[in-house]
Symmetry: C2
Subunit: 192 residues, 2 copies
Amino acid sequence: MSVQERKQRERAERERLIVATARELAERQGWEAVTTRRLAESIEYSQPVLYSHFRGKREIIGAVALQGATELAAAVRAATSAADGPRARVAALAFAYLDFAARNPAVYDASFQLDGGLAYAQEDTPEPLKDAFAALLETLEGVAGGGVPPGLFTEVFWAALHGLATLTRAGRLLPEDAEARVELLVDRLAMV
Amino acid sequence: MSVQERKQRERAERERLIVATARELAERQGWEAVTTRRLAESIEYSQPVLYSHFRGKREIIGAVALQGATELAAAVRAATSAADGPRARVAALAFAYLDFAARNPAVYDASFQLDGGLAYAQEDTPEPLKDAFAALLETLEGVAGGGVPPGLFTEVFWAALHGLATLTRAGRLLPEDAEARVELLVDRLAMV
DNA sequence: CTCTGTTGTCTAGCAGTGCTAGGATCGACT
DNA sequence: AGTCGATCCTAGCACTGCTAGACAACAGAG
């Protein structure tokens, strides 16, 4: 069985290569530059190989999205655990979130803006997405305030961050006052 | 000169038809269904005619976006002027905004999500966009709270609404608790 | 009323997209 | 050593946004 195992390993390796390459390409030149032809060319295989791993382009975006969610969760947890006190932890969460979105625009888009064919807010939601939300919840549930369900509070806080992230990157908000906006958001929303 | 005037009128009329048709098509089947061929077919002209009015598809989206911004501003102003008291006016603004986004998803996307080739937050920003922001500002500047620039407060509030609108429509947030989320947002952000 | 020149429109086509059918090739097992 | 199945690629489909160039319609001049 070692032959088959080797083949499986190689297949899995190639799949990682596809996702990594798609991500790089998207981060470097935008998702509109990620075509099946260019992607196939980059991994030095023909187009149909992509379709032996993924149903289509959407699923490739979805794979990048899951990677992104995992990393976002890790970034948020790292930032919050390094901060002292509820107020500082919430602020650290917000800055970490926006920083991630700004540094990985293509990945962030894959996760929260593009259609990666993933289920959200449902039972069959992939684990990384649920975990990313959980990472936010862990810190935010402490500052939801009385009578407010932590989940609901987290959704609102998340939406605000998402709005700041997307509007800023789309040029709708000037990046200069980014910090002031975050401070205002944290001061008002978090009940410390 | 009346002949030329008539032609100009007809041209303007056809341009309105293009925008209206693109909007209908997008609202009915999504922007990905708005192709230059289908659009040309719908207005009963050939494709190149579109390019005698607009530089490309992006500009058509941009035209729909401007319409949308104008209507959004009107909807917000209508809702706020019908409400009594600062708290009620802010809530009315929020509900009107989200209602507009939910009822006109394609138009909302054109305005704030897709690339319509429009400038934002700059000097050469089209008037309808500036006015839509102004409509929010008019109501929100009264509840910004001391020491907080009204413009900054409006940006944050807008971002939160935008986040709620997009995440809800993308299936990231369940629509059930929509009202509770808005109430929470208004209660926390607005200093009545 | 005819001719002319401009203005407007359409046909046809380019280069690119996501995706797939079918043939070729390679290699693991009998 | 030969067979047969898995794997991969070539070629192509139907579509996209966009454009060059042929063609027709029509206002203005004579």
